[in-house]
């Protein structure tokens, strides 16, 4: 009887499987553990994590570590991935030509046109004209209301107002004649004076109708067909807002500008193609398919993607003690996305959605210095340590312990940095592939699309369901169920969309609805994992045909996600493939596949002896 331990050092977690193997080679599993990986995988720093994991697995059995006959490490695949994003369009306003935003409480409602005028100049204004009056932060709302009323009484036609502070309703309530008022316009000093302007405030629960339509703007300002064409970006930028102002200035203009994002050079076995990043994800991925199999991908220096490529190669070079020039980016995945950006030259913090392309890259090298790690570990624990087996093979051997599976079986390893697939056929031959783009890319997409600028929060939004705090004492979960609390919640949570993490609800500092945040989250997961799942499986499938795979078992950290497995299963159903989260040894869920595989394929174990 020999006690052996299989140890799988992953990018994020280190997992152990313990088993007793008798003289006949029959394997009996008796323990397992999971700890965070310490240091980058394949480095000496991993040792303390491994020892910790071994101790945790041994503790319930009350067996000292020295009784271990052997520790088996996997030949970890040296794959590192990283992500970056290139924004390819931005909106620029020259000569403050519009305001469009969603103050929570604008004043009045309706549409009005007039010439912009300062509140102070109103006393000398003539009565033959229509005016839109500007009220800055220095003016008390009561004074402003009085002055507007006085002007109205003299016959001056004040048709609307633009206000710097959150005073729209207060001013409106004190006017003798109701007018639409746009408030919370932070940079009111940038609004040009004595220019024709149109103002629109929508009723509660609606968005503006006129100023978001180019022909209505043309009607209001008497624009020529040519000028109407130029106003289209304004109308587009004003779609979906509650209140808006459009000002016609001589040179006033708003443009959607394309930002140069450089080229990617895709070097395949037979051809080399250049593709401009700003052509979007579809164009990039088309070219990737065209050039496949890829040898190397290069990005232009000075771009975000170029910088990311350099970083990821450098990390790998440091890790494996190889020159950077030997490390090649071997796969990319591109995803189109929309990111909210502050409009350049904005008046009230307006933002417009810019087009962006998210990219993940993957580098792979021959070998990590696992032998060095094994020797170091052996020294530390005084137990024989061996490096045995390739990660992908071990994973699939472990995955085959999932009840209800048999070869041909494919596993999809949904990790943080890369999506990996392996396939074992009836003859026991194994094929595997590593692709760029996984959980970290989903996190980046969520972060950028919501404009969070907080990766930790984006990570939690990815991992946990959402809820809306409806009163101080209850919240409504994403699925509609309601949860009550005995004690009042933190007032900072009130009225907010929250993410239900382990530490209780955490507020998301956005105005977006729960529905939109959930939509962004789901779309990000679909864009990355569904696309990559299909890409990976078709690379390992016989004749590239996914239909020829019978079983797909999901493993890896992202397979624990509460919706990714369902998305993949839905997609793969069309191919007639049985898809599900693996259940290693019928008890471990999608965890412990590699560690289990290591034990099963050890020299002591009789092949196929795990007794299914």
């Amino acid at each position: 009887m020999a006690l052996i331990a299989g140890v799988d050092i992953g990018n994020n977690t280190t997992e152990v499987a313990l088993a007793e193997i008798d003289g006949q080679g029959a394997v009996r599993f008796c323990g397992q553990s999971l700890v965070r990986t310490i240091g980058i995988k394949g480095t000496m720093r991993n040792v303390s994590g491994i020892i910790d994991a071994l101790n945790q697995a041994l503790a319930p059995l009350k067996i000292p570590r020295r009784d271990l006959a052997m520790v088996l490490l996997n030949e970890a695949t040296p794959v590192i991935g990283d992500v970056a994003m290139e924004t390819i369009t931005e909106t620029v306003i020259t000569e403050s030509a519009m305001i469009g935003h969603n103050p929570t409480t604008p004043g009045g409602m309706g549409l009005a046109t007039g010439t912009t005028i300062n509140l102070d100049a109103l006393s000398e204004a003539d009565s033959a004209q229509d005016f839109i009056v500007l009220v800055d932060a220095a003016t008390d709302f009561q004074v402003a209301a009085e002055m507007i009323n006085a002007a109205t009484a003299r016959g001056v036609r004040v048709r609307g107002a633009i206000v710097q502070l959150d005073d729209g309703v207060l001013i409106h309530n004190r006017l003798s004649q109701p007018i639409p008022i746009v408030d919370e316009v932070r940079h009111i000093e940038r609004v040009p004076m004595r220019m024709p302007a149109a103002i629109e405030v929508a009723p509660v629960g609606k968005t503006i109708e006129k100023l978001s339509n180019p022909y209505d703007i043309a009607t209001l300002f008497g624009l020529s067909p040519e000028e109407t064409r130029n106003i289209v970006p304004i109308a587009r930028a004003l779609t979906g807002v509650r209140s808006a102002v459009v000002i016609k200035t001589p040179q006033g203009d708003i443009q959607e500008r394309r930002i140069p994002a450089g080229h990617l050079t895709l070097i395949g076995a037979e051809a080399t193609v250049e593709v401009p990043v700003d052509q979007g994800a579809a164009a990039i991925m088309d070219k990737v398919d065209q050039v496949a199999p890829l040898r190397e991908i290069k990005a232009e220096a000075g771009t975000n993607v170029g910088g990311m490529f350099e970083t990821v190669r450098q990390v790998m070079a440091d890790l494996t003690n190889q020159p950077v020039s030997d490390i090649l980016v071997q796969d990319i995945i591109a995803v189109d996305t929309l990111v909210p950006q502050q409009v350049l030259g904005n008046l009230a913090g307006e933002f417009a959605l810019g087009n962006a392309v998210g990219l993940a890259a993957m580098v792979q090298t021959q070998k990590l210095p696992m032998q060095m790690l094994a020797r170091k570990l052996e020294e530390e624990i005084q137990v024989k340590v061996a490096v045995s087996g390739v990660e992908a093979e071990m994973a699939i051997n472990g995955a085959l312990t999932t009840p209800g599976t048999k070869a041909p079986l494919a596993i999809l390893d949904l990790g943080g940095g890369s999506t990996d697939a392996s396939l074992i056929n009836e003859a026991g031959q194994i094929r595997s592939i590593h692709l760029a783009g996984a959980g970290d890319m989903v996190t980046m997409l969520i972060d950028k699309e919501l404009g969070l600028d907080d990766l930790d929060l984006a990570e939690r939004i990815k991992f946990y369901p959402l809820a809306k705090v409806e009163t101080l004492f209850h919240l409504r979960h994403e699925d509609g169920s309601v949860q009550f609390f005995d004690a009042p919640m933190d007032p900072r949570l009130f009225g907010r969309v929250v993410v239900m993490g382990e530490g209780g609800p955490q507020p998301i500092p956005l105005e977006d609805t729960l529905g939109r945040i959930a939509e962004v989250r789901r779309k990000a997961k679909e864009k990355v994992f569904v696309q990559n799942g299909l890409r990976a499986l078709s690379r390992v499938a016989p004749a590239g045909n996914i239909r020829l795979i019978e079983f797909v078992a999901l493993v890896g950290g992202s397979s624990l996600d509460f919706e990714i497995p369902t998305m993949l299963a839905d997609e793969l159903m069309e191919y007639g493939v049985v898809t599900g989260r693996a259940n290693i040894r019928g008890s471990q869920g999608p965890r412990n596949a590699v560690a289990t595989g290591l034990v099963l394929t050890s020299p002591l174990a009789r092949e196929q002896s795990y007794g299914r």
Partner: protein, 163 residues
Amino acid sequence: MAVELHEQIALKPMVPILLQGTVAPSVVNALLFGLEEEGIPSITGTTTERSICRATKEIAQLSRLNIGIGASAQEQLVVLHHRDLPTEEPLFSESIETANLADFRRLGANGARLVKGNPLLFKDTTEDDPSPKPRQRIQPLAVDARLVERIVQEILKQLATRR
């Protein structure tokens, strides 16, 4: 306590504002303006109850909106209370001596937001900036010459070892 106030708030959706003693009109107005800008009607009344917390909690329980605001000259305190909160733990309280008018207007606005279910305002959050953060542009850093010198040296050294 005014009987009329009790009747009014039981009939119509209004936020009651209870005043104890002579509270500065500017403070009361700030509370009223906060509620008005958010579009929630309010009504003021007086009380002789010593504890403004207790009085406000009681009025909150009578109000159809479950919310009450109280201001006490004696205790120099303004509180925002909710029906379900413990008497001595109002949701927000501001000292008349130390808080400014913007604080009272915010307290009034929060009363209204509590009714509407909108996120509340806090002094430290820049609520006038609900829009997403602007895209980060690379700003030229103000670096001192010595640091640059050190970085350059380091790079040169690494380049030298690589050859």
